[in-house]
C-alpha cells in the first residue's frame, strides 16, 4: 500500500529452511545503528535488547556517530572477524549511501533493515524491512492536516491562501535525508491540491535547535501573506517552530496549526495544545519489531512478499512461527493533546511507548 519504495524481495539464496522456532537458542543478532546519544535511538536500542532477551537471542550493537563512512568501516571490521550471526539488524547512517555495506553484509547473514526505508538499489540485498514507515507518517500527517482544516472551516475560520486555501510552510528534515524526502512526498500525495505551499525549508539538524533555526528565518518572510499551517517533520523539530512562531507574534494552536510527524522529543507543547497533532513513532515498538521480524525469518527461512502495517492492538501480539512480510511497518496513529494520556498500545502508555 505504501508503494513509494520498491518492496524488497528476499534474496533467492537465503530462501530456505528455518529453525522452526522463534527461540534464538542464544544465537547472535548483530546490530549496526547510529549513536544512542539520541533518546530515540537509546530507547530503540534498549527495546532491541529486551526483545532479544525475551526470545533468547544474544545482541551486539555497534554504534556510529551518524556517519556512514564510520558505519562502513565497522561493517568491514565485523565481517573480517568471521563471527557468525543469525541475522544482521541494520539502521543505515545514511540510507542512500549504505548500499555497499548492506551488500557485503548480505553475503554473511540475512540483513533486516530498520528505521530507514530500503532503497531500490539495496532491495536485492535486504531480506526484510521492519520499522517506521516515513511514507506512512507523511500520509498520516497529511490526513491530520486535512482533518484540522475541515474542523476549522466548520468553525468558520478563513484561510489566507488564494481561493481560501490554507497557506502552508513545511519545515522538513535536513536536505538529502531520505526520511525527509519520503515524508515530504507522502504529505503532498495525501493532500492533493488542498494547500497553498509557501515554502519547504530544510533544517540544519533534525532537532528542536534545527527547527528553530530554519523556522525563525522562514516565518518572517511569509508573515505578510499569512501562515495557516506549519507542517514539521517531527515533534522535536516542531518544538523549535513553536518558539519561532511565538517570537513572531503568532500563537501556535490558535493562529497557526502545527501538524507534525514523529512524536519525538519534549511533548509539553503537544500537551499544551500548541502542536495540533503528532504521529506516533515508538522506538520501543520499532526495536521489538525488528527483532521479531528477524526471529520469524530465522524460524522459517522464508519471506512473504508484500508489506503489512501492524495494528494498534492493546495487547502485544503473540509471535507466530510464520514468514515475515518483505516489509512490516509500525502503526502511526495520531497523537494529540486529548488522546496522548489515554494511549494503550501493547500495554504501554504513551510515555512508555516513547521509551521514558
Amino acid at each position: 500500500s505504501t508503494g513509494s519504495s520498491a518492496a524488497p524481495g528476499a534474496p533467492a539464496a537465503s530462501q530456505g529452511k528455518g529453525t522452526g522456532t522463534t527461540d534464538g537458542g542464544g544465537a547472535l543478532l548483530k546490530v549496526f545503528m547510529p549513536s544512542t546519544s539520541n533518546v530515540y535511538l537509546a530507547a530503540a536500542s534498549q527495546s532491541i535488547k529486551d526483545e532479544a532477551k525475551a526470545l533468547n537471542y544474544t545482541v551486539n550493537i555497534v554504534e556510529n556517530n551518524w556517519d556512514q563512512t564510520e558505519q562502513d568501516q565497522q561493517v568491514q571490521e565485523w565481517l573480517a572477524t568471521g563471527e557468525r550471526a543469525a541475522a544482521v539488524l541494520m539502521w543505515p547512517a545514511g540510507a542512500a549511501a549504505a548500499t555497499n555495506s548492506i551488500r557485503l553484509l548480505s553475503a554473511q547473514a540475512p540483513v533486516i533493515q530498520f528505521n530507514n526505508l530500503v532503497t531500490p538499489e539495496a532491495s536485492k540485498y535486504v531480506t526484510a524491512y521492519a520499522g517506521v514507515s516515513d511514507t506512512g507518517i507523511g500520509k498520516e500527517a497529511g490526513a491530520n492536516a486535512l482533518a484540522a482544516v475541515k474542523k476549522l472551516k466548520a468553525e468558520g475560520v478563513k484561510f489566507h491562501g488564494p481561493d481560501g486555501k490554507p497557506n502552508v510552510v513545511e519545515i522538513r528534515f535536513t536536505a538529502g535525508y531520505a526520511a525527509g524526502d519520503d515524508r515530504e512526498k507522502a504529505f503532498a500525495e495525501a493532500t492533493p491540491g488542498a494547500f497553498n505551499m509557501l515554502a519547504v525549508e530544510p533544517t540544519p539538524t533534525v532537532d528542536a535547535q534545527g527547527g528553530f533555526k530554519a523556522a525563525s528565518q522562514v516565518i518572517p518572510r511569509f508573515l505578510g501573506q499569512g501562515i495557516d499551517i506549519v507542517y514539521a517533520h517531527s515533534n522535536d523539530v516542531a518544538n523549535g517552530v513553536v518558539q519561532a512562531l511565538e517570537q513572531n507574534g503568532l500563537k501556535p494552536g490558535k493562529d497557526v496549526i502545527l501538524i507534525t510527524g514523529t512524536s519525538s522529543g519534549d511533548m509539553s507543547n503537544l500537551r499544551g495544545g500548541k502542536i495540533w497533532s503528532a504521529t506516533l513513532q515508538s522506538p520501543v515498538i520499532e526495536g521489538a519489531l525488528v527483532v521479531r521480524t528477524a526471529a520469524q525469518y530465522i524460524a522459517t527461512g522464508q519471506v512473504q512478499s508484500g508489506d503489512v502495517t501492524i495494528e494498534s492492538s492493546a495487547a502485544k501480539p503473540e509471535l507466530k512461527v510464520e514468514a515475515p512480510h518483505a516489509a512490516t511497518y509500525m502503526m502511526n496513529p495520531q497523537v494529540t493533546a486529548e488522546n496522548n494520556a489515554s494511549f494503550d498500545i501493547w500495554g504501554l502508555s504513551f510515555d512508555k511507548l516513547m521509551g521514558k
Partner: protein, 329 residues
C-alpha cells in the same frame, strides 16, 4: 640636556597613510555590515521587514554572546576553544535541570554560569600553566560531551513544568530578551576590556607575553580571567539557548564551535593575540547570520549558502590580514 622639547621633535610621525589604513581596519566591519544591510534592504524582498531583522538578531544572539566571550581568550593570546558546543550544551542542561529542581529559571541561570565558570577556571589553570589551549579545550570538550551523553542517556532534558521560557520570550518593543542580553553582554565586554585592569592586562598579555611578564602581568592569572569571561558567556548562552526551546540534548549545537570561530575571525581578532574587540566579534557574528539570511531569502540552497559563507570568511580574513600588514609597516 637642558631642553627636552627639542628632542621631542625627533619623534617620528606615523605616516598619513598608516593612520588612514588604521581607520579603515577598525571601521571595515561596521561599514561592511552597514553596506550589506543597505544593499540587501534594496535588493532583497522581505529583508527589511521588522520580523526579518528581528529574526536575524535572534539568530545572532547566542552565537554572538559566545563569540564575544571567546574574544577574551583570543585577545589573551590563547587562540580559541575547540570545545564550545559541548560546554554550551552542558550549561543548557544544567540550566534546565536546576530550574526544574528549584522552580526558578534565575537559579538555573546562576547554576549554569557557575558551572561554566568552574569549567573555565579549570581550563584556564591548565592553559595558564603553559599547556596548549587548542588541545586542552579540544580534550575537555570531548570529555564534557561524553559525560553529558552518559549522564542524560541521550534524553531530551527539560525543566519539567517550570516556566523557563520567559528568559527567551519576554520582550520589549517586540524584541525578545536574548537580543538585549546579547547587546548588553557585548557592551559590558567592551567596557571590561577597555576600562578594567583585567581587560587591559588580557590585551597586553596577548600583545606580547614576554613583555607582559616583565611588566609584572601574571600570564597565569590573566589567562584564568580570560577563561572565566569565556565561561560566563557560555553559561549565559547555554541557558538562553535552552530556555528558547525549553529543552536540550547532548547532540545539540553541533556546528556551533565553527560558527563562533568564524565570527571571531571575521571580527578581525588576531589569532596570535593582542588584537580584537568584543564589538567587532559581535558584528562578525551578525554579518555571517545576515548573509545566511539573505541567501535564504534568495532561495539559495544549503550548499550554496555554506559555500558562499566559506568564501566570504576567506575573503574577509585575507582582506583584514592585508590591511593590518600594510598599516603596521
Amino acid at each position: 640636556m637642558s631642553s627636552t622639547a627639542s628632542i621631542a621633535t625627533n619623534f617620528i610621525a606615523p605616516s598619513q597613510r598608516g593612520s588612514v589604513i588604521r581607520f579603515v581596519t577598525s571601521y571595515t566591519l561596521p561599514l561592511l555590515v552597514a553596506a550589506v544591510f543597505a544593499v540587501a534592504a534594496t535588493s532583497t524582498p522581505d529583508f527589511a521587514t521588522f520580523a526579518n531583522i528581528r529574526a536575524i538578531l535572534i539568530n545572532t544572539s547566542i552565537v554572538g554572546i559566545i563569540a564575544v566571550a571567546m574574544t577574551a581568550i583570543t585577545i589573551s593570546g590563547n587562540f580559541f576553544s575547540l570545545g564550545i558546543a559541548s560546554s554550551t550544551v552542558l550549561a543548557g542542561i544544567v540550566f534546565l535541570a536546576v530550574s526544574g529542581l528549584t522552580g526558578s529559571a534565575l537559579a538555573g541561570l546562576g547554576a549554569a554560569v557557575v558551572l561554566s565558570v568552574a569549567l573555565g577556571i579549570l581550563q584556564g589553570l591548565i592553559v595558564g600553566a603553559g599547556l596548549n589551549p587548542v588541545i586542552t579545550t579540544l580534550a575537555v570538550g570531548s570529555v564534557t560531551y561524553g559525560l553529558v551523553a552518559i549522564t542524560t542517556k541521550g534524553a531530551v532534558v527539560t525543566a519539567g513544568s517550570v516556566d523557563v521560557a520567559w528568559l527567551a520570550t519576554w520582550n520589549l518593543l517586540e524584541i525578545p530578551l536574548p537580543v538585549y542580553i546579547f547587546v548588553l553582554f557585548t557592551a559590558v565586554a567592551w567596557f571590561l576590556t577597555e576600562h578594567t585592569l583585567i581587560g587591559r592586562n588580557t590585551h597586553l598579555l596577548g600583545a606580547n607575553r614576554a613583555t607582559a611578564r616583565n611588566s609584572g602581568i601574571s600570564p597565569q592569572a590573566t589567562t584564568i580571567w580570560a577563561f572565566i569571561a569565556f565561561g560566563v558567556g557560555l553559561g549565559v548562552a547555554g541557558a538562553l539557548n535552552a530556555s528558547q526551546l525549553h529543552q536540550m540534548q547532548a547532540n545539540d549545537l553541533a556546528g556551533l564551535t565553527m560558527d563562533v570561530i568564524a565570527a571571531v575571525l571575521v571580527g578581525g581578532a588576531a589569532v596570535s593575540g593582542g588584537e580584537g574587540s568584543p564589538t567587532r566579534s559581535a558584528l562578525g557574528a551578525l554579518l555571517i547570520v545576515a548573509l545566511g539570511n539573505i541567501m535564504l531569502l534568495h532561495g539559495l540552497d544549503n550548499g550554496w549558502r555554506v559555500f558562499l559563507v566559506g568564501g566570504i570568511v576567506v575573503v574577509l580574513v585575507v582582506a583584514l590580514h592585508v590591511l593590518r600588514k600594510v598599516s603596521t609597516r
